[in-house]
Symmetry: C2
Subunit: 375 residues, 2 copies
C-alpha cells in the first residue's frame, strides 16, 4: 500500500478521525485505496487533478485507483504553496505542479476541486485548449449551457461531449447534498413523479474541508471557532452558507435549483433545511415525498433495491437503518426508513432516510463516473 | 451554592460534558441552580420526587430552586438501591427514601420520572391517596381521561384538577419532542391553523439518560455500544424506540398522536422522522408547516416574538440561528430560520427550526409549570 506522502494528516480524518482506532465499529473499504496496478496504463486519456492537496483531490486518487481508471498520464496540480512537493501514487513518484494557464496543454480530462474562483478562472481556459473539465465547484452548475450530471440519473445531459473530438467542454458535478438525495429519490420519481419534496439534511464536517473535520474533534482540547462561527463539537447549527433574501441559505437553494435542472422539471416543488451536524464525512438526509401517482412502500423498496448505486438498509425488527458511519468510504448511497407517510392519503406519500459519503459519491466518485462515461 | 452530593457525576454531563471547560462557548444559566432560599417555606404543598437519581429527577430540584417553587416539605424517592443515600439541597440534608406503596401518605404533589412501569404501578396508587401526580413517562399520555398538558398551550385541559380538594389526579407531561415542537408551532397554529406538519428531529443524548450522554464522549476511549446498538460518537441514527408495523418508531408516533390530543384536533396531519444526533442535552427540530389560512413570514416572526416561553433567534446576516448548545440549561425554546416555504404557494407554508433543552422544558420545567398551575 502506497500512501501519498502529503495526505497522511488528511487521511487520519478522512478515515474517521477520532474513531479510527476502532476496527469493529468503523466500517472501512476492504480494497486498498492506493494498491499497485498490475501494469501501468499505456493507453487511456491524459488526466490532471486540480486541487490535489484538498480532501476531494486526495479522494480522486483513491477512486481512480479503486476503479482502475485507465490513464496515460497523471498531472497533479495545486497552488504555488504546494508546488514542488512530491507524492507517491500507485508506485510512481509525482511532483505537484503549480496550476497556471499552461497547465492543460495535452490534457484530455481535468478533474477540478479547488473552489469556485479557481474553476471560473481556469475551467474555461482548459476547455478552450480541448480539455474536458469535470468541475466539482458550484461555478458552472446553473449555467444552462453546461451539463449538471449524476451518471445514474441524467447521463443524457452530457451525450454531446466526446473525448477525442478535440473539443473541450465543461461538465458540472452537482452539490453533494443534491447527489445523495437524488440517487435515492430519482428511481421513485421515475415511477410515480415527485410533486413536492421536503428535504432536511444532517451534514458532515467534510463538506467544509479537512480543517472543519479537525475542529470537530476535541480529545481534551478546548473547542475552537476557526472554521465555523460557533462551537461544532457536541452541537449542530444551520449550514454556514450565506443566507439569501428569501431566508434560505445557498446550500438549501442548491438542492432546490439543481434538482429542477437535473430532472429537467421546472415544476417540481422542493424545500430544504440544511443543518451541519457533528459527524465526520457522510451526509444523512430525511426526505418527505409527495407523488403525482401512487406508489406503495413495498414497491418503493423493490424499486430502490434495484436502483444502481443504491443499497437498502431497512431492518425494522432490529432497528438498523442507514448511518453516516456505515456509509463512510463506501460508493453506494444507503436508503432506509422507507414507509408510507401517515400524513398523506393513500399511497401518494413516502418518507425515506438516505446516507451517502460526502467526499466519495457526493464529490470525487461522481466526478470520476462522469469521466468514465467519456471513455 | 449547594450541590447535591449524589449529582456530581451527572451534573458533569448535564452541564455540557466534554465542553464544560469552555466558559465562552458554552452558555450557562446565570442563576445558581441550588441557591439558598431567603427563608424556608412554611406553607405550600408537600412535594415528592419519584426518580430523584435520574437526569430529570435532578433537574426537578434545579427548577424548583430556580423558580422558588413553594413547598412545605420535600420527599426524595428512588429505588431500593439508592435508598438511604443522603443529599443536600437548598442547605438542607435529605435522605433518599425507597419508593413504596406507602410513600404518598400526606403528599400533595408528586413529580414522577422513573420510567413507564414505575408510573403505571405507583401513579394510580398515589392518586387514590389524594396526591396530584405529574408524570413524565409515556404511561398515561394517550389515556383519554388524563390531561396531557403544556401550560403555554392547553392549560384548560387540567382545569378540573384542584389542589386541596382532597381528590388526587394524574396529569401527563408530553414527550420532550412534542413539547419543544408545539411550543413553537402552537402560536402559529392559533393564527393560521396547521393543516399538515412535517417534523424532523435532531435529538440529544439526554433523552436516553445519563449513560447515553457518557457513551457519546470518547476523549480517547474506544467507542462502546452499551446504550445504543451502534456507535454514537461522530455518528447519528434513527431513534432507538421500537419500530411499529407502519414503519414509524414510537418516538415519531408520539409526535403524531400527542399533537392531536394537545391541540384537540383529530384532523391535523403530522409526519415525523426522529434521529438521534451526537449532541448532549437539547433537541433541535426542523418543522415544515402547511396552513389552512395565510400567514406571512414577518407576521409569523412577530407572533413568535410575543409567544410565552419562546425566543426568536433569526439573524440572517450573521447566520446565527438556534443551536442546542445555546439553549442548554435555558427555559425558553428558541425558534429561527423562519421563512416562507418556497415549495408552497402564497403564504400558506412556513419552514422553521426549533431548539429546546430536552431535560428542562422537554421534561422537568414543563412538569413543574404544571404543578405551579395548581397553586
Amino acid at each position: 500500500m502506497n500512501t501519498p506522502t502529503l495526505s497522511l494528516r488528511h487521511n487520519h480524518f478522512l478515515n474517521g478521525g477520532a474513531t479510527a482506532t476502532s476496527t469493529i465499529l468503523l466500517p472501512r473499504s476492504t480494497s486498498s485505496p492506493f494498491r499497485v496496478r498490475m501494469s501501468l496504463q499505456e493507453t487511456g486519456p491524459s488526466v490532471s487533478i486540480v486541487g490535489i492537496t484538498g480532501a476531494v483531490g486526495q479522494e480522486f486518487l483513491s477512486v481512480l485507483s479503486d476503479r482502475n481508471f485507465p490513464y496515460r498520464s497523471l498531472k497533479l496540480l495545486a497552488s504555488k504553496r504546494s508546488a514542488g512537493k512530491s507524492m507517491k501514487f500507485e508506485n510512481r513518484d509525482y511532483t505537484i505542479e503549480e496550476l497556471t494557464e499552461d497547465s492543460f496543454e495535452g490534457i484530455d480530462i481535468a478533474l477540478f476541486s479547488a473552489g469556485g474562483s479557481i474553476s471560473k478562472k481556469f475551467g474555461p481556459l482548459a476547455a478552450q485548449k480541448g480539455t474536458i473539465v469535470v468541475d466539482n465547484s458550484s461555478a458552472f452548475r446553473m449555467d444552462e449551457n453546461i451539463p449538471l450530471v449524476i451518471p445514474e440519473v441524467n447521463p443524457e445531459a452530457m451525450a454531446h461531449v466526446k473525448l477525442g473530438s478535440g473539443k473541450g467542454a465543461l461538465i458540472a458535478n452537482p452539490n453533494c447534498s443534491t447527489i445523495i438525495c437524488l440517487m435515492a429519490v430519482t428511481p421513485l420519481h421515475r415511477r410515480a413523479k415527485v410533486k413536492r419534496m421536503v428535504v432536511r439534511t444532517y451534514q458532515a464536517a467534510s463538506g467544509a474541508g479537512a480543517a472543519a473535520m479537525e475542529e470537530l474533534v476535541l480529545e481534551g482540547k478546548e473547542p475552537t471557532c476557526n472554521i465555523f462561527n460557533q462551537q461544532y463539537a457536541f452541537n449542530l447549527f444551520s449550514h454556514n452558507a450565506p443566507v439569501q433574501p428569501n431566508g434560505y441559505n445557498e446550500e438549501e437553494m442548491k438542492l432546490v435549483k439543481e434538482t429542477r435542472k437535473i430532472w429537467n422539471d421546472m415544476d417540481v416543488k422542493v424545500t430544504a433545511t440544511c443543518i451541519r451536524v457533528p459527524v465526520m464525512r457522510a451526509h444523512a438526509e430525511s426526505v418527505n415525498l409527495q407523488f403525482e401517482n401512487p406508489v406503495d412502500e413495498d414497491t418503493a423498496r423493490d424499486i430502490l433495491k434495484n436502483a444502481p448505486g443504491v443499497v437498502v438498509v431497512n431492518d425494522r425488527a432490529s432497528n438498523r437503518f442507514p448511518t453516516p458511519l456505515e456509509v463512510s468510504h463506501k460508493d453506494d448511497v444507503a436508503v432506509g426508513r422507507v414507509r408510507r407517510d401517515v400524513s398523506q392519503d393513500g399511497d401518494y406519500g413516502l418518507d425515506i432516510f438516505v446516507c451517502g459519503d460526502q467526499i466519495r459519491k457526493g464529490a470525487a466518485l461522481n466526478a470520476i463516473q462522469i469521466a468514465e462515461m467519456l471513455l
